[in-house]
């Protein structure tokens, strides 16, 4: 079934540009001109990916991202302007999966969309145990659900994939490059910023004390790992 992408931008010429290119790849497209409209469209039909501009009237991209994250883990890509590093970090902080910097080329746009959609696919499980536990953390692989101390946690698609990397590699140090390549794709190999922000977000959700993490631990200069539990 064709994936449906919601594009949100107040510049009609950006909507046209994104829509024309996405349709050539067989995606279905829905559009909105500001955040408020985007939330309406989003709740009215199934959406597989949101492309979200930052500067918009009424409700801007950050506000929209935050609102969507309150009830959905749909992949979100923020469209931002070059040089505004704070914007990028803020978008990731609010739960966006990726960002695309304006001006961008058509091929760059399509590559990002493909990568983000690929990440959103729950990875196939190979006949292993359905549940995984690590101290007070519990993962249900079949339903892609996560609990901490018996409380369900909502993770974005990217965050979930990142967590799986650790769960499948207990006790093994994973380098930034490995994580970026396996979660985001080879084209992100050097984008450490996106990894830092995502790890920080994941810790906030998983750890009792994000400054003193027990599930995802940093090994300075090497990478990250989920330490084996002492039995």
């Amino acid at each position: 079934m064709a994936k449906r992408i919601l594009i949100v931008d107040d510049e009609p010429r950006y909507l046209r540009l994104l829509e024309a290119n996405l349709r050539t790849e067989g995606y279905e497209v829905a559009t909105a001109q500001d955040g408020v409209q985007a939330l309406d469209v989003f709740s009215a039909q199934p959406i597989d990916l949101v492309l979200l501009d930052v500067m918009m009237p009424r409700l801007d991209g950050f506000g929209t991202c935050q609102r969507i994250r309150e009830f959905s883990s749909v992949p979100i890509v923020i469209l931002t302007a070059r040089g505004e590093e704070q914007d990028r970090v803020r978008g990731l902080d609010l739960g966006a999966d990726d960002y695309l910097v304006k001006p961008f080329s058509a091929t760059e746009l399509l590559a990002r969309v493909r990568a983000v959609l690929r990440r959103a696919q729950p990875p196939a499980e190979t006949g292993q145990a359905r549940f995984f536990t690590h101290d007070d953390l519990k993962i249900d692989f079949a339903r892609a659900e996560v609990w901490r101390a018996e409380e369900a946690i909502s993770l974005s698609a990217t965050e979930y994939r990142l967590l799986l990397q650790f769960a499948h590699n207990i006790g093994k140090i994973l380098t930034s490059e490995e994580l970026l390549t396996s979660v985001w794709g080879a084209e992100y190999k050097t984008d450490k910023e996106i990894l830092w922000v995502s790890i920080a977000r994941l810790r906030q959700k998983l750890e009792g004390d994000a400054h003193n993490p027990r599930h995802i631990v940093t090994r300075s200069g090497l990478g990250y790992l989920m330490p084996p539990l002492e039995s």
Binding site: D10, E11, P12, R13, Y14, R16, L17, A20, N21, T24, M55, P57, A81, R82, G83, K102, P103, F104, S105, A106, T107, E108, L109
Partner: protein
């Protein structure tokens, strides 16, 4: 020290400290202790560190000193002595003359003023014809010198702080300006990049209509970029006042008709109605004023499509007024105060291409003519721009 003196001192110093203006504080400091310490003139000399010459920071004359007010030179020698010795200086006339010559017999008392722990000025009192300064007087003067120095130091700090504030404000404006410019330039660039790379995609084939559509957008956005850069240069020249104006007597009614004719050749559908009074000429730059009118015409065409445009002129004695009235959809009241600001665009007006510089440029040009420009607008009824210019004063 007795209770009464202490209370007096307390009241005086509290009042001195409380005044916002340092001059008023000094006034209070000197006048309120005159009960115990009488003098005719008081002057504060501060040495200008660059030129090494005296500057009079403060001077007050009381009683008979008022006659000698303008002549503060009598204190300069004392001030020089104070500064070189960094000590109190007392100077009394050598020969006592008769009562009527008392203006020639100044009794001078100079006190060093130290600001930021450096002696850089002197507080000088004068009594014409005496009496001599007693020990108590010297002590009061010394206390006043201490407080005067503190007040002057406070003034310096206030001035330095005001300067710093203004520099910071300038820097913030500059930052805003740079970020607005880069955003404005990036928008058309983003379209050019996006649509051209779409056409360059190897993996898809666009139909002819789409190709033409994309090429048109690229072409329009390149034009927008050019216009934006031209407008930016123009507005920067206006801002820095480096744009040269050539002033000569101009007939506004004739000028606006010329511009209207030009506009109509490009936009034959635009209906223009004239309501022109004969006006006295204004002293203006015809080319720049045409630019203002062209801008108002083009705004009407863009933002009030299909509406007729009524152009009226009125003579208001020493001023003339021109108005451009359209029957378009109007501008919400909340946005009106910002229309003439640089890069301001009414939110939601993105469908119409514009740089946010047109009205800013108009305002700068009108202001260079010592005129005003403003706008009235009612939603669903229309918008009127007014320009008022002074009539040529030489005619």
């Amino acid at each position: 020290m007795d209770h009464l003196t202490l209370t007096l001192l307390h009241t005086v110093l509290k009042e001195v400290q409380g005044k916002h203006d340092w001059r008023a504080s000094l006034d209070t400091l000197f006048t309120s202790l005159r009960g115990s310490f009488v003098f005719d003139n008081v002057v504060i000399y501060i040495e200008d560190p660059q030129s090494k010459s005296w500057e009079i920071a403060y001077a007050r004359a009381m009683g008979r000193g008022k006659i000698a007010e303008a002549d503060a030179v009598w204190g300069e020698r004392v001030a020089t002595d104070v500064l070189s010795t960094k000590k109190m200086v007392l100077k009394e006339p050598k020969h006592l003359g008769r009562e009527k010559d008392r203006m020639d017999q100044p009794y001078l008392l100079g006190m060093p003023l130290s600001i930021a722990s450096k002696v850089c000025g002197a507080l000088v009192f004068v009594r014409f014809g005496g009496p001599k300064y007693s020990d108590l007087h010297v002590k009061i003067a010394s206390l006043q010198a201490f407080w005067a120095a503190a007040l002057l130091e406070r003034r310096e700090l206030q001035e330095a702080r005001a300067e710093l504030d203004s520099v910071q404000r300038q820097m913030r404006l500059q930052d805003d300006f740079v970020s607005t410019i880069s955003h404005e330039l990036r928008t058309p660039l983003g379209f050019i990049k996006g649509y051209s790379t779409s056409l360059l995609r190897q993996d898809t084939k666009w139909d002819d209509a789409t190709q033409r559509e994309f090429l048109n957008i690229i072409d329009e956005e390149a034009d927008r970029l050019t216009r934006l850069i031209e407008d930016m240069l123009e507005s920067a020249r206006l801002q820095s006042k480096t744009l040269q104006f050539k002033f000569s007597p101009v007939r506004i009614d004739a000028l606006v008709r010329d511009v209207a004719t030009r506009v109509n050749t490009h936009h034959p559908d635009l209906k223009i109605e004239f309501n022109l009074e004969t006006l006295p000429p204004v002293l203006g730059d015809g080319v720049r004023l045409s630019q203002v009118f062209e801008n108002l015409f083009s705004n009407a065409i863009k933002y009030a499509p299909g509406s007729k445009l009524v152009i009226s002129t009125k003579s208001l004695g020493k001023r003339v007024q021109i108005s451009f009235e359209d029957k378009g959809e109007g501008i919400p009241e909340d946005f009106l105060p910002f229309l003439f600001e640089r890069f301001y665009r009414v939110p939601g007006e993105r469908t119409v291409t514009g740089t946010g510089l047109g009205l800013y440029i108009c305002k700068q040009i009108v202001m260079a003519h010592h005129g005003k420009i403003w706008v009235d607008s009612v939603l669903d009824q229309g918008t009127t721009f007014f320009i008022e210019l002074p009539a040529d004063p030489t005619l």
